[in-house]
């Protein structure tokens, strides 16, 4: 069967079971948009290519399936660099198709030409420039394989316009030949045994669960390991929901804005079991002072993560789910073998008690006074308490993100979508749209900041026109809040370029202009009715403009570059920065 390269591309995407793609057409990608009309694939027309990339990410986050975005050459390709980098940092499988100027014109400064493959090389797991239409099915198959296996990540396929028009003989490759790509998924059995042995000696263990748990669909396995060992778990920003917050062994989020118990448990641990986490600087604080007494078991599918920041005592390369399942077996047999050994598997009662005391003495605090300014934490709490348990929460980057992570109770995996590694402001609205497209029956709430919202809000036009009823809660404190917080604490309250105004833009009018319902909330007593009203609307997006107290800061906080022992608690606590 003879097809054009463009037809072969669309057919290849169908072969990969793509049900939806996010994109925006333009000159160089025109040939590929034509066969799309006859395809079963749903296309969502975005208003900016960055939106397409983040939607693909949100879709992938929520469903575990690769998100697909398609845009044209030049400025469209550069506009999607941010989502690629975001996906690269957070290991999100997305496949981006870009148009390119005709092959012969590459390198001539042709209209809308840019070196897409060169520009995206450092922010993709791999990318391809198609030089022959006959290669298209093979490259698409390879692209999806690379994006979704091993450590997942973004890939890009750059398709010159003439290649898309060139005919080819259709085939679908039945195998993949990538001799340099063979991810290790099974953990080394001796290392697993060593890990179990180390675990048997620990009196103050902490499981340091990262985003790899979610990527590996390992939440169930993790729960089994926790229940077998009684080891407490911290869930990083990328792993919120990987272990249920309502479990008594869940300590919540560690790191710069982690809660006291999560942060301090790691500092005082004698063993950290890092599962799909990468010792990010936002978790460790000053590396030299991080968890000084802890031995480290580090499990990751990416060998480059092992020893990158902290040298593990037991490194294990492998898929988190497979390794955890093997660990469960190894722990069970170690326990049976050392039943009479008093030193093995000591009681953790003392450790559990200490953790409970911290949780009691150093909870997250804020106060919503009657008639006082609206507290952002109160808004998040109310949202949490008046939405279904399996609501998908999507956040941007900044204070609102930290409050969302701190205060929500994530009891199910894949319920929190946010930009962790890259910290991409403007992520929430498009990512929420992608998540809702992937999970149409679930309620999707974006918790956004006013600064973030203004970066990508136009995608609500996409949501309204495509009838994707997401809900957006703007915690509008009229500031670039996190920057303001740093300027207040570390720059002697010299506020430089952080004020945004609560009224400009008028968020309600803006929402309405974009085909959404707009609601303004100034006072605490209006919060719940506004949420209930938003929840009841299912035919268009809703935006709530929560006018929150700009003075509110995210606590606890470990100042950048400091030891996690120097955690600053909310001034409302009596002991300030002391243990």
């Amino acid at each position: 069967m003879q097809l054009t390269g463009a037809q072969a591309l669309i057919k290849s995407l169908e072969q990969e079971a793509v049900e939806v793609m996010f994109g925006l057409p333009g000159g160089a990608i025109l040939p590929v948009y034509d066969p799309l009309i006859d395809s079963s694939i749903r296309h969502i027309l975005v208003r900016h290519e960055q939106g397409a990339g983040h939607m693909a990410e949100g879709y992938a986050h929520a469903t575990g399936r690769p998100g697909v975005a398609m845009v044209t050459s030049g400025p469209a390709a550069t506009n999607i660099v941010t989502p690629l980098c975001d996906a690269y940092m957070d290991s999100i499988p997305i496949v981006v198709i870009t148009g390119q100027v005709p092959y012969a014109n590459i390198g001539t400064d042709a209209f809308q030409e840019c070196d897409t493959v060169g520009i995206t090389m450092p922010v993709t797991k791999h990318n391809w420039l198609v030089t022959d239409s006959q290669d298209i099915p093979r490259i698409v198959r390879e692209a999806f394989h690379v994006a979704t296996t091993g450590r997942p990540g973004p890939v890009l396929v750059d398709v010159p316009k003439d290649i898309a028009n060139q005919t080819m003989d259709w085939y679908w490759p039945d195998s993949i030949d990538l001799p340099g790509y063979k991810p290790t998924t099974k953990g080394h059995s001796k290392q697993i045994k060593d890990a179990a042995r180390l675990m048997s000696q620990s009196k103050r263990p902490v499981i340091y669960a990262g985003g790899g748990i979610l990527k590996a669909r390992a939440a169930e396995a993790l729960k089994e390991l926790v229940e077998l060992t009684g080891f407490p778990v911290v869930t990083t920003l990328m792993a919120r929901g990987a272990f249920p917050d309502d479990h008594e062994l869940c300590l919540g989020m560690p790191g710069m804005h982690g809660n006291y118990t999560a942060v301090t448990s790691m500092q005082q641990a004698d063993l950290l079991i890092a599962l799909g986490s990468r010792f990010d600087d936002r978790v460790t604080g000053k590396v030299g002072a991080f968890a000084p007494e802890a031995k480290i078991i580090h499990v990751d599918i990416d060998p480059a993560e092992l020893g990158k920041v902290r040298r593990p005592d037991v490194p294990i390369v492998g898929d988190c789910r497979r390794v955890i399942e093997e660990l469960v077996k190894a722990v069970s047999s170690d326990k049976a073998k050392h039943e009479d050994d008093e030193a093995a598997w000591p009681s953790l009662d003392e450790w559990h008690t200490r953790l409970k005391e911290w949780q009691r003495d150093f909870p997250l605090v804020y106060e919503q006074t009657e008639g006082g300014p609206l507290k952002p934490q109160f808004c998040v709490d109310q949202l949490r308490d008046h939405t279904p348990d399996d609501t998908i929460v999507v956040s941007g980057v900044g204070q609102h993100q930290m409050w969302a992570s701190q205060r929500w109770k994530f009891n199910h995996p894949y319920t929190f979508v946010n930009s962790g590694g890259l910290g991409t402001m403007g992520f929430a609205v498009p990512a929420a749209i992608g998540a809702k497209v992937g999970c149409p029956s679930r309620m999707v709430w974006a918790i956004d900041g006013d600064g973030c919202f203004q970066m990508t809000a136009q995608e609500l036009v996409t949501a309204a026109s495509e009838r994707i009823p997401i809900k957006v809660a703007i915690l509008n404190n009229a500031y670039l809040g996190m920057v303001r917080q740093w300027q207040e604490l570390f720059y002697e309250e010299r506020y430089s370029e952080v004020y945004l105004s609560p009224d400009l833009p008028d968020y309600v009018k803006w929402a309405e202009a974009m085909g959404c319902e707009g609601i303004r909330v100034d006072h605490a007593e209006e919060v719940e009715p506004a949420i209930e009203k938003a929840n009841a609307i299912d035919d268009r997006p809703v935006v709530i403009d929560f006018r929150t107290d700009y003075r509110e800061k995210v606590y606890p906080m470990v100042p950048a570059g400091h030891s996690n022992d120097e955690i600053i608690l909310d001034p409302a606590h009596d002991s300030f920065g002391e243990r």
């Binding site: 090389m121 797991k125 290790t184 060998p303």
Partner: protein, 179 residues
């Protein structure tokens, strides 16, 4: 460059797929971290699907370890080996044009013969010599030729293969798997 630890010569032998753009991916990993590549030689191997890159880089070991792990992650990279200088056969080729007047020419040809170099081209006032050997041999003849006046000089960069049998165990394969 703010590097930690001792800066040393490291020789990498990297087997890659013989496709366009691979060199750029490999070089990018070094460039991104501010490592200067001292020399680089690339050519197809005995199997035409693959090329071998020999890269010499000066860097401290710790940050370099991360680079090698990242190299493994590149999809077209098949194998990465660090070759310890004691355990590798290293060779390099140099072409050097030296001023050679009538009265100095015989001294230069004499030097060339000591180093088993070949005279490749002769002009009225200069000759071009080809020397092959270990990099330190090339350094030595360069030093000795300098007083005569070096007009132009070009080295190929090192190529290297592991020494056979007796030293195999010291050859450090830095794992061949990507993720």
């Amino acid at each position: 460059m703010a590097a930690t630890g001792d800066i040393q010569h490291h020789i990498y032998s990297i087997t890659v797929e013989n496709k366009f753009g691979v060199l750029s991916r490999v070089a990018g990993l070094f460039a991104r971290r501010g490592f200067n590549i001292v020399s680089l030689a690339v050519s197809p191997t005995e199997d035409e699907r693959f090329s071998r890159m020999t890269i010499v880089v000066d860097a401290a070991s710790a940050p370099l370890e991360q680079v090698t792990k990242q190299l493994h992650k590149l999809i077209p990279v098949i194998k990465v080996m660090e070759l310890h200088p004691d355990d590798a056969v290293e060779r390099e080729l140099m072409l050097v044009t030296v001023k050679a007047e009538v009265d100095t020419r015989s001294q230069i040809t004499e030097l060339a013969s000591i180093f088993e170099a070949r005279i490749e081209d002769v002009g009225f006032e200069a000759i071009t010599i080809q020397v092959a050997g270990r990099p330190d041999k090339l350094d030595a003849i360069t030093d000795l030729l300098t007083p005569f006046g070096i007009v132009e000089l070009q080295r190929t960069g090192q190529i290297a293969l592991p020494k056979l049998s007796r030293s195999q165990q010291r050859l450090r394969a830095v794992k061949t798997r990507g993720a």
